[in-house]
Symmetry: C2
Subunit: 399 residues, 2 copies
């Protein structure tokens, strides 16, 4: 049995994801499709719209065979660590390939860019360093250095596009791991990330879809943009928890914790750097909404995403000290499987490179405990404390 892997957030699952999943299976020729999925907090430094169980359900209903949790420490990290976490897990699961959506849609430019940068890494890093010194954000600096290196030459990856950047990091992670896993890419189609839902189209952005849910759009209308199973799973999640995950919803707790920690305390949380703790503290003192708060704190240098990652760690209490203890993912947390997924695990048992964990009670190392902790923090943000699924349920099964 051949497996291909994808690294996803499904926040929430929509027709664009369905297209990606279907194409990944086709293009790779794999029998089994494995998704490594972020848990309760996401790479953009946000609480997930719906919890990992609801999102696993959507994934399984749409034909994913195995859903494995990307540990919190990687799911909420900058692109290179996010990629390292995801690729390490897919490699441990014995995937022959991984498949990412990209604006470019062809793999050669990525490999060419990778080779160019690998050959000239010293020069590249020096250029990034220089650019950062001018006060631009790290992604901007990276981009500037890359553009200067590649020049006007055709045939390289366009690393100004967000999905291309992520894809590039996946390839980089696979090479660093010395993994035999092969990269595949699929052209992304449809809505741009931030487009609102446009009536009549079948693909909408996750942002637009989240907005539609907050506005209580009907199941029929939403079903144009996402599988009906996804709509139903989300509606049920909202019924159970009273709402969806968002910083707006979590802000009272976040604000309290920022004010309680004070600048001296804030500094110790992961990703908080360079004196931004005072700005975070002062903004929390006066701003009554998350949106006003983040607008006060973000800047050219500290992008919204970067600040939100800091906030995520402040919110969950995840420190630099803890972060530094993590070198590589240490387990495979199984959130859900199809019959084919179960079959694959049974057959591959001996080739799987990390312990496969079906129940939280078995997660006894600090990285795993952090995932359980993240669920507890996530549920409290929603005003709930239901941890039943986390502790006592087996992985979801779609037979």
């Amino acid at each position: 049995m051949k497996a291909t892997g994808i690294i996803v957030e499904y926040n929430p699952f929509h027709n664009g994801h369905l297209h990606h999943a279907t194409s990944a299976k086709e293009k790779s020729g794999a029998d089994v499709l494995i998704a490594v999925m972020s848990g309760q907090f996401l790479q953009r430094g946000e609480p997930a719209f719906a919890d990992k169980w609801a999102r696993t359900e959507m994934a399984l209903a749409a034909g994913i065979d195995l859903v494995i949790e990307l540990p919190y420490a990687y799911a909420t990290a900058q692109a290179s660590d996010f990629a390292k976490g995801g690729i390490t897990l897919l490699d441990a699961l014995g995937c022959e390939s991984f498949c990412f959506g990209s604006e470019q849609g062809a793999i050669e430019p990525f490999l060419r860019s990778y080779k160019l940068l690998a050959d000239r890494r010293g020069q590249y890093e020096q250029m990034i360093h220089e650019a950062v010194k001018t006060g631009v954000s790290y992604p901007m600096a990276l981009n500037k250095a890359y553009t200067e290196l590649v020049g006007e030459t055709e045939g390289f990856a366009d690393l100004k596009q967000p999905n291309n950047i992520l894809g590039f990091h996946y390839i980089d992670a696979a090479k660093k791991l010395n993994s035999p896993i092969q990269p595949i890419t699929i052209q992304r189609i449809g809505a741009n990330f931030h487009d609102p839902i446009r009536s009549g189209t079948a693909i909408a952005s996750a942002t637009g879809i989240r907005k539609a849910f907050f506005e209580d759009t009907s199941i029929e209308e939403l079903s144009v943009y996402m599988p009906e199973a996804s709509v139903l799973a989300l509606k049920r999640f909202a019924e159970e928890t009273g709402s969806f995950g968002s910083w707006n919803r979590f802000y009272p707790l976040l604000r309290y914790t920022i004010l309680r920690e004070r600048p001296d305390g804030i500094r110790k949380f992961a990703e908080v750097t360079e004196g931004i703790e005072n700005l975070i503290y002062d903004a929390a003192k006066t701003e009554d909404t998350f949106e006003n708060f983040i607008v006060r704190v973000k800047s050219k240098r500290f992008t919204r995403t970067r600040v939100q990652r800091m906030l995520t760690h402040i919110y969950t209490g995840f420190t630099w000290e803890q972060l530094r203890t993590f070198q590589t993912p240490t387990y495979l947390r199984l959130l859900g499987m199809s019959a084919a997924g179960r079959n694959y695990l049974n057959r591959q048992k001996k080739n799987i490179g990390l312990p496969l964990i079906s129940r939280a009670a078995s997660l006894d190392d600090s990285m795993g405990k952090l995932d359980i902790h993240a669920t507890s923090m996530y549920m409290l943000g929603l005003g709930k404390t239901a941890m039943k699924k986390e502790y006592t349920s087996p992985p979801l099964y779609f037979g």
Copy 2:
């Protein structure tokens, strides 16, 4: 001008307090009555029913001449440190006497008991130590040792009574300070501390009165038990903040912070000792109400009051490390004054032993910043962030 001092919480101010204030002035023959009052958190380890501004207003309306804030570090401490903080401030203010309510109502038994224990301190401390080892709470151990020492002898203070105990600590604090301040006591009258309001009586317990406010009792009915100015100040406070301070109200934030800190984090907060952090954490995981939570955590050894003091420090983020930096109160924070109080301060200016602080902006040491921080934490517990009074208002003035 002669001044006498009282140490109070006014949670909230009622006719029993009015009686105490009037008698203190009469019995001491003082021209000016000074109250050192706890701020936003109280000695029983609870958020105050109404904030310190509303309580200052009640005190001034009832004839108190000066209201000085007892710093958080002392207001939330065990009896001996609470007493030390209060007496130090009254001494610094040049009071000739201080006046406490007691079950016994005469000062001689207190002085006799003080002398006995001073003479036999070594033996007393050894007996307390032995009693603690049997697993009883510290107050119980103290009481046991004291009863054994005093025996059946008449004429000593009955240190089983809560107000007698506090009075004893005041005397002890004054002696340790080598202060010339003289102790006076007044017999407490009326309701026992926990009695509910009984119709037709003019004195009710603070507990009963708080309950009546939660039940939205009418102003007319409440005015039987407390000055009408107090009723109105409280009603206005509730209108402004939407509620009153209580652990029930603050529990969602407390619970989140306990779960976020986890046992390792909880241990660092002031008063948290001897492995209780696991019990606190486990109870927070499952208990949805504060009352169920505290019942799980308190025990014969760790009384409700002691646990609540730990919770107060966890809630505000006050650590052992901070606590250890405080030796003695470093300022007099003026919350309110009458014309006579202002007059007294002007005349006594040169004799006042600590800097007199009228505005929070002038509080630049760590103890003072902690009081401002406590206000911020208190307001967040009520779902508010109004800090205007704390920062920009002068002390209240009742001319």
